[in-house]
């Protein structure tokens, strides 16, 4: 029996020794962040949602946004010893799509932030859901002023976790109105489709244009799915409108232009839209109807860094269709920079990343060297660099590139 007890004792001692020799536990940094932290184990990636509109009218923009984010992640390489994983999620282009997509994003609590959405309509709902989950969302194509800053006030859909490297539509609206007025227009009709992007732009346009002394003779709304634009155009006929400003998407944008061109009484009316319709397919599909049409959009940077990015993008993915790749590249860079800057690292590689710290870093970002220029964020979340251009279509077959070459007006926002 004594021998038996000795054997049992020896076994227990061996077990204890094996356990105690199993390795020293990692000292993981403490999380003191106000809204929580993401803890990433040494063998786990840093997760970022590539939250783009894979469906909807801006799918082309979305594709370029996704690719630009991918390129930025590849250029950056491993972050603090961790791979960066881009998780693609469809944001759609409407508030409803944004809601569903955002719920999907926040379902994974390891995600630090989302690059997107493509459309302001989706951002209207998605920004709140994502922000409420403690994450950040940085868009390179949201224009709607209400997402950050509108008419001197915080926008109706502004969220503490929301940022964008795209231009605030506030400035596009102002630029469009000033151009219209300088062009000699005094009566303008505006059409929106209820989307915050179009509503915001038309509202800013109206305010600015009226301030300049112009008159908004019609300011009305169409539904995105409407195909019969005759009634709304009939409401414009006879109002003396010299320009129709409709910063909306396809396909409603198609019907409005085509039916305007054939509507008696509107033959001489100038037409103007914005980023949402700047793509090769629209110009091609509209043909002669689009000739002479004006577009207001953020200007394309003209420097070596941007050219280098364009070349590398073209080499990897082919020539871009829209200018948004650069803006999305910068959106991804500033998020990676924020994560890298605020992450606390354990002695065995575990990262502890404060969510509020990421936001604070972005909000306080100044003069960051982006490919689109020096990026500085304000406390509304606007981080865009650069100016606004108004361009006119001379030859639809020249596509977006031809349009970009024919800048008829430039506007530098006063932030």
């Amino acid at each position: 029996m004594k021998h038996l007890l000795s054997f049992v004792g020896l076994g227990l001692l061996t077990t204890l020794l094996l356990v105690s020799c199993g390795g020293k536990a990692e000292e993981i940094p403490t999380c003191n962040d106000a809204i929580g932290c993401v803890t990433i184990a040494p063998d786990q990636p840093i997760k970022i949602s590539n939250f783009q509109s894979r469906t909807g009218p801006l799918a082309e923009v979305a594709v370029e946004g996704e690719r630009a984010a991918q390129l930025a992640v590849e250029d950056k390489g491993d972050l603090l010893g961790h791979q960066v994983e881009l998780l693609a999620e469809d944001s759609g282009c409407t508030p409803e799509n944004g809601t569903t997509g955002a719920l999907r994003v926040v379902a994974d609590p390891q995600i630090l932030g989302a690059i997107g959405t493509t459309c302001s309509g989706a951002a209207e709902t998605a920004a709140k859901i994502i922000s409420d989950a403690g994450m950040v969302m940085i868009s390179g194509s949201n224009i709607a002023p209400a997402l950050t800053f509108f008419a001197g006030e915080r926008g109706a859909f502004s969220q503490p976790g929301y940022y964008r490297t795209s231009q605030n539509g506030q400035y596009s609206g102002e630029a469009a109105a000033q151009f219209a007025y300088e062009l000699g227009m005094r009566k303008v009709a505006t059409l929106n489709d209820g989307d915050p992007y179009t509503v915001g732009l038309t509202e800013v346009f109206a305010l600015t244009f009226q301030e300049l002394g112009g008159e908004i003779v019609v300011a009305t709304t169409v539904n995105k799915e409407d195909t019969d634009m005759i009634p709304v155009l009939e409401s414009i006929v006879g109002t003396g409108a010299e320009m129709l400003f409709f910063p909306i998407f396809r396909p409603a944008g198609d019907y409005i232009l085509q039916q305007t061109r054939t509507m008696p009484g509107l033959e001489e009316v100038a037409v103007m839209s914005a980023d949402g319709l700047i793509n090769d397919l629209y110009l091609t599909d509209m043909g002669d109807a689009v000739t002479g049409m004006y577009f207001v959009a953020a200007s394309e940077p003209q420097d070596a860094a941007y050219d280098d990015l364009t070349n590398r993008y073209t080499e990897k993915f082919g020539a871009p269709f829209t200018p948004f790749y650069g803006i999305y590249y910068d959106a991804t860079l500033i998020l990676l920079d924020a994560i890298e800057s605020v992450a606390q690292k354990g002695d065995q590689g575990t990262l502890v990343i404060g969510r509020q710290a990421v936001r604070d870093h972005l909000t306080n970002l100044r003069e960051f060297d982006g490919t689109t220029g020096k990026i500085s964020c304000d406390h509304y979340g606007d981080c865009a660099a650069g100016s606004i251009d108004v361009m006119q279509v001379q030859d639809p077959t020249a596509g977006v590139e031809g349009l970009r070459r024919n800048v008829v007006y430039s506007f530098t926002p006063e932030k």
Binding site: P95, T99, L103, P109, P231
Partner: protein
């Protein structure tokens, strides 16, 4: 310090144990084995029970939760659909009570189920696929919550649009009711004017409005708005309104349009919710399906786990049984090796020893009782083997001497009974070993008295040496023998027999006789050989022959040859003879001597006729042969040489006249041409018959200077090499032709050398004789 592995230590410890302890340990191990098997079975069954229960409970709970959730979600959707489809007919209040409130409760239940499911899944093994779908479940839960909120918002919007009751917020009924009231009020204000244009404009606007409310197509409402503008213009321009009525009518129109615009906005908002529901359904439904699939897999996994556990239990039991068998076998093996096997080895060793194998040992390496017994056994066996080996060695030594002796060794009794005789003795007397007992030694003596003398001498001197006697073999033949023997004594000193050696000296005596006879015959042959050599012509005799250059050679095969040759001159007559007596030895040599004597006698008696010459010689020799009673004769050719001289005495060649039968005569001309002269027709063998005159004839050969003849016996042409090939005429002629320009002596030497080279180391079986005669 020597390091030993545990097995070695264990093995050594086991070997040190006594047999009793070994049995104790072995049966203790068997008891332990039974306990292990029992414990293993218990553990296996307990594991099966626990794992089975756990797996079944977890998986079925998860599956039930998911299925319940999925069913709840479907019910919520049906309630949602029914609410929006039926409120226009049922009325908002009834539709909300029937569908919306039920839907709200359904969503609450759904969220509660989702929360429970998520909690259950966190307890799952992380390796399962279901546990990895936690992100999807998070989405499912948040989507359900969002769906509940969104549905409530949609219901609120519908309430704003369609409530028949006054809303607390506005104190008004729903917008559609308001629009209807405002439309009616507007019509009431327009109707008194009796302005048909106004009524028509109103009807147009109202028609578009109604179209919108039916189709919910925004352009219809836009048309209503567009129609409102001419109506407004008409109200402003008509004279049928008082200013108050105009203002009231325009205000009502504005209210109407504002309400219509609000309806548009609410419809957009409601439509937005519909889209959101559809999107969420599209997003959530696959998750529900996936969860159902995963929980199904989880159930299957649970079943598999049960199967695995059963398999594990069976495996454990099989392992236990195999281990038990192995352990039992090991114990049996150990017992067999350490006890049974040793007993068997000891028994086998004893059996082998009993059967005479003194080299056998019990190979038991154990310190226990069996090991000690084996050690004692081996010691005894070793001692026994050493003693027996010594004895065997001694016996073998003497037995070898007895068996292998060339002399006959015997042991007899005094009475004459043969007790033993070695193989050489049995062979000497021509006896078989089985016949020993039947012989009486007395019968082995040719002279019985010799036996008596032998016994007397041995018993007197206890030994006898080289006792010579004549003994008799079984076949009756006698042989001379020498006996050397000793007396054999019993323990009491009395004679019990004789033992000794018998040596056959018959051959020794015969050899002694032969040796004496050979000595005598050798002396005779030597004399004869000397006689032969003495009568051969001397070199100076050969030189004296005028006109011929002569070289001669004779070599007998034995001491005494049978060949004959001679060169004789008498009264200017040169006689050349050559012959070959059949056989060799003394008789042939004597016949050759007689032939020489006969030839010289006839020459000296001036017998010049070759026929007479040979006839007389033949008869002389024939009669001597008869008298000598020998079967001998000889071939013999005789040549008379006469030189040719010119008148002034100058020699210009010569003539040979030849008679008698011998080998072919080789005539060689000056330039080496060869001519062969057959002698068969010139005579008959001499000494074979009394009368040969009729057979004798003569041949003449003219010799020019440089010509010559060569005479020889068959010892040359029939000389054989190692391949049994004969030297032959052709080779002889070729050698002669090749050297003919040389002197006769050189030609002779060349031929003899060539024959020697041809024969090599072969024995010369016949006499060799060669005569070369060359005309000067």
């Amino acid at each position: 310090m020597i390091q030993m592995n545990p097995f070695t230590l264990l093995s050594q410890g086991w070997r040190r144990l006594s047999i009793t302890r070994k049995f104790t340990v072995a049966f203790g191990m068997l008891l332990l084995l039974i306990v292990i098997v029992a414990l293993t079975g218990y553990v296996a069954l307990a594991t099966v029970q626990r794992e089975t229960e756990s797996a079944i409970v977890t998986s079925t709970t998860l599956q039930r939760l998911v299925l319940t959730m999925d069913a709840g979600l479907q019910r919520a959707r049906l309630q949602q659909r029914d609410f929006f489809l039926r409120w226009p007919n049922l009325g908002f209040a009834a539709a909300r009570t029937t569908y919306a409130d039920a839907n709200k409760q359904q969503i609450i239940d759904l969220i509660e189920l989702s929360t429970r499911l998520r909690a259950q899944m966190t307890e799952l093994n992380e390796s399962t696929e279901l546990s990895k779908s936690n992100v999807d479940l998070n989405f499912y839960l948040s989507a359900a919550q969002r769906y509940g909120d969104s549905f409530e918002e949609a219901v609120a919007l519908v309430e704003q649009l369609a409530s028949e009751e006054l809303l607390p917020a506005t104190g008004q009924p729903g917008l559609q009711a308001q629009l209807a009231e405002q439309s009616a009020a507007l019509y009431a204000l327009l109707q008194p004017t009796a302005d048909l244009a106004l009524i028509t404009q109103y009807r147009e606007m109202q028609a578009y409005e109604k179209d919108y409310l039916v189709t919910r197509q925004r352009p219809q409402m836009q048309r209503a708005f567009n129609a409102a503008q001419p109506l407004r213009d008409a109200i402003n321009s008509t004279d049928d309104f008082t200013s108050t009525a105009r203002a009231e009518t325009l205000a009502m129109l504005d209210q109407y349009l504002a309400t219509a615009d609000a309806i548009l906005k609410i419809d957009v908002a409601i439509n937005s919710h519909f889209k959101e529901f559809d999107l969420q359904a599209a997003a959530v439904d696959p998750i529900g399906v996936e969860l159902v699939r995963l929980t199904g897999e989880e159930v299957e996994r649970a079943r598999q786990q049960i199967a695995n556990t059963n398999q594990l239990a069976i495996s454990l039991l099989i392992i236990a049984v195999v281990a038990a068998v192995l352990l039992a076998s090991s114990i049996a093996w150990v017992l067999n090796n350490s006890i049974t096997h040793n007993v068997i080895k000891l028994t086998a060793a004893a059996g082998a020893l009993r059967n005479g194998d003194l080299t056998t040992r019990a190979k038991i390496d154990s310190p226990d009782e069996l090991g000690q017994l084996a050690e004692s056994f081996n010691t005894m066996a070793g001692q026994l083997q050493a003693a027996f080996t010594t004895l065997q060695s001694s016996e073998a030594k003497y037995r070898s001497l007895f068996e292998e002796s060339k002399d006959a060794i015997f042991i007899t009794t005094p009475a004459g009974k043969l007790l033993d005789m070695n193989p050489a003795g049995l062979a000497l007397f021509g006896m078989a070993s089985a016949e020993i007992d039947t012989f009486d030694v007395q019968d082995l003596y040719v002279n019985p008295d010799d036996r008596r003398r032998f016994r007397q001498e041995v018993e007197q001197n206890s030994a006898v040496t080289d006792f010579e006697t004549t003994m008799q073999k079984q076949d009756g033949s006698h042989f001379d023998a020498l006996i050397t023997a000793t007396l054999r004594h019993a323990d009491d000193g009395g004679a019990v027999g004789y033992q000794g050696i018998i040596r056959d000296i018959t051959l020794q005596k015969h050899n002694d006789h032969l040796r004496a006879e050979n000595l005598r015959l050798g002396t005779e042959l030597e004399v004869t050989q000397r006689l032969q050599q003495m009568i051969l012509p001397k070199d100076e005799e050969l030189l004296e022959v005028e006109g011929l250059e002569i070289a001669a050679y004779m070599e007998p095969a034995d001491e005494v040859g049978g060949d004959y040759y001679d060169i004789l001159q008498h009264n200017g007559q040169v006689k050349i003879g050559i012959g070959d007596v059949t056989g060799h030895g003394l008789e042939s040599g004597v016949l050759m001597l007689m032939t020489q004597m006969g030839v010289r006698t006839l020459l000296t008696s001036n017998e010049i006729d070759p026929v007479n010459f040979l006839d007389v010689l033949n008869r002389t020799l024939y009669h001597n042969v008869q008298r000598m009673e020998i079967d001998k004769n000889l071939s013999l050719a005789l040549l008379n040489y006469t030189p040719h001289k010119t008148q002034d005495g100058t020699q210009v060649g010569g003539q040979l006249r030849m008679s008698g039968q011998h080998e072919e005569l080789i005539v060689v001309r000056q330039r080496g041409e060869i001519e062969l002269v057959d002698t068969m027709a010139l005579g008959f063998p001499v000494g074979l018959d009394d009368e040969i005159a009729d057979f004798v004839s003569e041949a003449t050969i003219e010799l020019a200077p440089g010509d010559g003849v060569v005479l020889y016996t068959d010892g040359i042409t029939e000389a054989e090499n190692s391949a049994n090939e004969q030297y032959g005429m052709e080779r002889l002629c070729e050698t002669i032709r090749h050297h003919w320009s040389a002197s006769a002596e050189e030609i002779k030497r060349a031929v003899i050398d060539d024959v020697r080279n041809f024969i090599g180391l072969q024995t010369v079986f016949d006499d060799i004789t060669l005569l070369v005669l060359k005309q000067k």
